[in-house]
């Protein structure tokens, strides 16, 4: 089948959605489909959104392919008679973050109108889709709660599972993702003040703004944790990443209210490592089961320290959780076979 996979993007920013687009395109090709990708630049500044949305709507892909799969909001505005949405998140400031400090647009008359038209456009365009999938239970629920739209959960698999492996259960907990405040690397650093075992923490990943990385460094210095915490504040290669996971004791991934379990959970699982996460981390809670394949604790430094100590003092337990984690993707039917079958049905 001739398939276009489309998304919106912010030039020079690359997140999970870009990985999803590239890996889906590649896998569709491996399954014998002819694919191309369309990436429309989109700025999420609310005042700029209506004009850009009209722009996307004007683009005609109707007879370029037999199937259009749209990923990031609001790429489903693109016109096509056989359109599918693999929905990954709303413009959250107008939905679930409305009424919080992350609300965007503001509650001015114009802001309210904007929110109203945003929701209207989302609902009209999603109603055109032949099928709608969500990348997590959280997102699927939100689509139902806010838009009354039913979406089947279709978990995104990892692009290259065979890259990850386990060599041993070492003395450090690893935290690999973009360094950004809502991933709470700072909380992980603070918890190192309380650990009683010799466990160390390795944080790795690029930062969108150097300020966040700098404040982590000064936190380490402030508490005198230089010999316990290592920060690699830049992009690391996939090989380097796999090696870091391979010798780690466990993985710590404690974002605030994420939509999905994130690639981090999968990378950790395929490296046979337990995942430490928090009760308020959102999507990770669909993946991690406390005491079975990881540990779920309250988001405070003492409890996180206890969780790390528990695994360091009880390496057999860490191994047992890690091995269970490696079975988790299978239990949740997270696989490319399943994804491609659903999307091309």
């Amino acid at each position: 089948m001739k398939i276009i996979v489309a998304t919106t993007m912010v030039p020079f920013q690359s997140g999970g959605d870009a990985v999803m687009l590239d890996s889906l395109t590649e896998m569709l090709r491996q399954f014998g489909h002819t694919t191309d990708t369309v990436r429309i630049p989109f700025s999420s500044v609310p005042a700029d959104m209506p004009a850009q949305m009209i722009g996307i709507r004007l683009i005609d892909l109707c007879d370029d392919a037999e199937l259009l799969i749209t990923i990031r909001t609001p790429s489903y505005l693109l016109r096509h008679p056989n359109k599918i949405s693999w929905f990954i998140h709303h413009h959250r400031g107008a939905y679930d973050l409305w009424g919080t400090k992350y609300q965007d647009p503001q509650s001015t008359e114009e802001g309210l109108r904007l929110r109203h038209s945003l929701m209207g456009a989302d609902e009209a365009a999603l109603a055109e889709c032949r099928r709608i999938f969500a990348n997590s239970r959280v997102v699927s629920d939100r689509l139902y709660d806010f838009n009354g739209i039913k979406a089947k959960v279709l978990y995104p698999p990892l692009p290259h599972t065979d890259r990850f492996f386990c060599s041993d259960y070492g003395d450090y907990v690893v935290c690999i993702s973009r360094i950004v405040s809502h991933k709470r690397q700072a909380l992980a650093v603070e918890s190192m003040r309380h650990v009683k075992s010799g466990v160390r923490l390795v944080i790795a990943g690029p930062s969108d703004d150097q300020q966040e990385a700098n404040s982590l460094h000064s936190l380490v210095k402030h508490y005198g944790l230089e010999d316990r915490v290592e920060i690699i504040d830049h992009w690391i290669s996939d090989e380097q990443k796999a090696r870091l996971y391979a010798s780690s004791l466990a993985c710590i991934y404690i974002p605030v209210d994420e939509d999905s379990y994130g690639y981090v959970s999968l990378e950790s699982a395929y490296s046979r490592k337990a995942i430490i996460t928090c009760t308020d981390s959102g999507g990770t809670l669909e993946f991690v089961e406390h005491g079975i394949n990881g540990l779920i604790v309250h988001p405070n430094s003492e409890e996180l320290a206890m969780a790390m100590d528990e695994l360091m003092f009880g390496k057999d337990f860490a191994r047992q959780l890690g091995e269970a984690a490696s079975c988790r993707p299978g239990e949740m039917n997270i696989s490319w076979d399943h994804v491609i079958r659903e999307l091309t049905l």
Binding site: V38, F42, Q52
Partner: protein
């Protein structure tokens, strides 16, 4: 600088403009810029789509980018304070092709309205660019004639200028590149009936239609030219092409009325080989001068045969013209250094 190269996208089509964008990106990255390619879908059928896609391009918002380099209609309408154009061509159907069999736009009030919209938009928005470069003097002349806008010619260099070289001056004329009706390889094959010097012809490239391939093959067969003509009718790798150039006596490139000089002439001159071309070949006349860097002859088999004989019989002149060809490239500063300097100035 953070640079976005903005280009059109026709899904599932990847041609010269796409490669040029890729190479430009490679060379921008090599000198330390950040660069991303942004592609905006374009469809011109049915014709009302043209105006929609013009508007779609204009409505795109590119934030946090220091410079935009736009290449094609209608992607070049994208709004940005610091935009330069490296114009590969306008929408010719509204300009020089209007009133010819290639007009494509319908001869109706609607067709005329679309043409007017294109011309008006060009007149208005092309002037918003900081500077306009074009890829050939033909494109510059058109822009000046139809829109009264001045521009500077910035010749596209080869991807890897250093790879082409001269090993020797052999006994064959090489015609490499796309094989089709407009490139007129059939005239070259027919010319071989007239040669007397023992010079041979190698045509190397993927034929674009079975019909044209059949035509070339039967020309060879009917005139018993098997010893004189070598048809390599297949994909030719970059390495093989470079080596074919390195050993050629001279080359031939005789398309019908092309806009630009074409990479073929650059490949030839970087290999120090003179070029045979025709008086009606268009853009290549900008760089190939008769009896100085090659021969410019009328598009007939007899004239072409005579030029090939001349190459074989007067070898000192042939070599000298080949060397002069390289000087023509140097004289015009056709290099990535020049391109990058201008586009980032």
């Amino acid at each position: 600088m953070k640079i976005a190269i903005v280009n059109n996208q026709v899904p599932f089509v990847y041609g010269g403009a796409e490669f040029l964008a890729d190479w430009l990106r490679e060379h921008l990255l090599a000198v330390g810029h950040s660069c991303e390619i942004v592609r905006v879908p374009f469809k011109w059928n049915p014709p009302h789509n043209i105006v929609n896609h013009m508007l779609a391009a204009r409505l795109i918002k590119l934030s946090s980018i220091d410079r935009v380099i736009a290449l094609k209609f209608p992607a070049y309408y994208v709004e940005h304070d610091n935009k330069v154009l490296w114009l590969l061509h306008q929408f010719r159907q509204a300009y020089d092709l209007w009133g010819t069999p290639y007009q494509e736009l319908p001869d109706t009030p609607e067709g005329l309205a679309i043409r007017t919209a294109i011309i008006n938009a060009d007149n208005r928005y092309l002037r918003c660019a900081r500077k306009i470069y074009t890829n050939s003097s033909v494109v510059s002349a058109r822009l000046s004639e139809f829109n009264g806008i001045s521009s500077m010619v910035l010749y596209p260099p080869l991807r890897d200028e250093g790879a082409y070289h001269c090993e020797r001056y052999g006994d064959y004329i090489l015609c490499a590149g796309r094989v089709n009706e407009v490139k007129r390889q059939h005239l070259l094959v027919e010319a071989m009936r007239f040669v007397q010097s023992g010079v041979r012809l190698i045509v190397a490239g993927q034929p674009e239609s079975q019909a044209y391939l059949d035509r070339l093959v039967s020309l060879v067969k009917n005139d018993h030219l098997e010893d004189k003509v070598d048809l390599k009718m297949r994909f030719v790798s970059e390495e093989e092409k470079i080596s074919l150039y390195a050993g050629a006596l001279a080359t031939a490139y005789i398309p019908y009325d092309e806009d630009s000089y074409g990479y073929v002439s650059l490949e030839s001159f970087h290999s120090r080989k003179a070029v045979i071309t025709c008086s009606d070949s268009g853009g290549i006349r900008e760089i190939v001068r008769d009896s100085i860097s090659g021969y410019v002859v009328s598009p007939t088999p007899a004239a072409l045969g005579k030029a090939m004989d001349l190459m074989m019989l007067d070898r000192p002149s042939t070599e000298q013209m080949g060397n002069q060809g390289l000087q023509e490239v140097v004289k015009r500063s056709i290099s990535w250094d020049t391109v990058i300097r201008e586009l980032t100035a």
